[in-house]
């Protein structure tokens, strides 16, 4: 128990690093794109946990929302739209996974509970430790990131919004259905 408390950071880092590497190898090696996507999702979530370990709490939240919430849903939609071979879920395969899912859920809950308990033992109240100094004032991570982002990095921030607008227009143009029909008829696209 003493070993667990004193080496809490190391244990967390090495477990997360192991999961990240297994997930990354899964993304590259798995044949079915849906399995690759699930593996990538696990990798993203655990990378967010690593962000928390390095006191980048705001980025961890952004990572979960943008990657796990946004980009992964986009990937799964495209996998379905592109109708890649072997993607349709096999009912028997899924129902045989139910006990595995239950055991995995229980284990994950136990792991998180043990992690929280050990974390409280190791660092006590984490809120004070997570404070950062900006211009001599102690603030939380989100506030600190906001202060730097909207003062020192305001111009790059605005430029990035233009990049997003261009990407949005580009994605809409690529996704238009009448684009290829108009070209094959020799007409100018409407």
């Amino acid at each position: 128990m003493d070993f667990l408390v004193t080496h809490f950071g190391e244990i967390l880092f090495y477990s997360f690093a192991g999961i990240v590497l297994v997930g990354a190898i899964g993304v590259v090696t798995l044949k079915n794109p849906v399995h690759s996507a699930i593996s990538l999702l696990a990798t993203f979530v655990v990378v967010a946990a690593l962000f928390v370990l390095s006191h980048a709490e705001f980025l961890a939240a952004v990572q979960i929302m943008v990657y796990a919430g946004g980009i992964m849903v986009l990937f799964l939609f495209v996998i379905m739209l592109a109708r890649v071979k072997g993607v349709s879920p096999d009912q028997a395969f899924l129902s045989h996974l139910v006990p595995v899912a239950v055991v995995g859920g229980v284990l994950l809950t136990a792991l998180v509970a043990a992690g929280v308990l050990l974390g409280v033992l190791a660092v006590g109240d984490g809120a004070a430790a997570a404070m950062q100094a900006v211009d001599g004032v102690q603030v939380g991570n989100t506030e600190a990131v906001g202060m730097v982002l909207y003062t020192k990095y305001l111009v790059p921030f605005e430029v990035v919004s233009v990049v997003l607008l261009v990407a949005m227009i580009g994605a809409i143009v690529f996704g238009r259905r009448d684009r290829f029909i108009a070209e094959s008829d020799g007409e100018v696209g409407s």
Binding site: A24, S36, V47, H55, Q63, L164, A171, F174, G175
Partner: protein, 100 residues
């Protein structure tokens, strides 16, 4: 004690795995996913240095990387949709009109 070096080694391994995926896989969707792995490796690097130096600029840069990665994913997936409409495939080797 976990140092920045630990994070850098993990980031290097992630980057390498992603790079192998981009070069070896022929399915365009998997190639894009490997690209996201590379972006994540870069972010891990930035966060590790931000933590090590006590400077928030690394975290700001990581936010920009995440934004550009989202834009790249939207464009790339739009390209996949266009490719499936045109050629009915997501295999990169079959999109060979340019004879590259």
């Amino acid at each position: 004690m976990i140092t920045a070096t630990h994070y850098l080694v993990l980031s290097l391994l992630m980057f390498g795995i992603g790079l192998i995926g981009v070069m070896v896989r022929r399915n365009m969707i998997t190639v894009l996913m490997s690209l996201e792995l590379i972006f994540n490796a870069v972010n891990l690097n930035l966060i590790a240095f931000s933590f090590r130096l006590g400077d928030l600029s690394g975290q700001i840069l990581a936010i920009f990387v995440i934004t550009v990665a989202a834009a790249e994913a939207a464009i790339g997936l739009g390209l996949i949709i266009a490719l499936t409409r045109l050629k009915n495939t997501v295999i990169l080797d079959e999109a060979n009109e340019m004879k590259g």
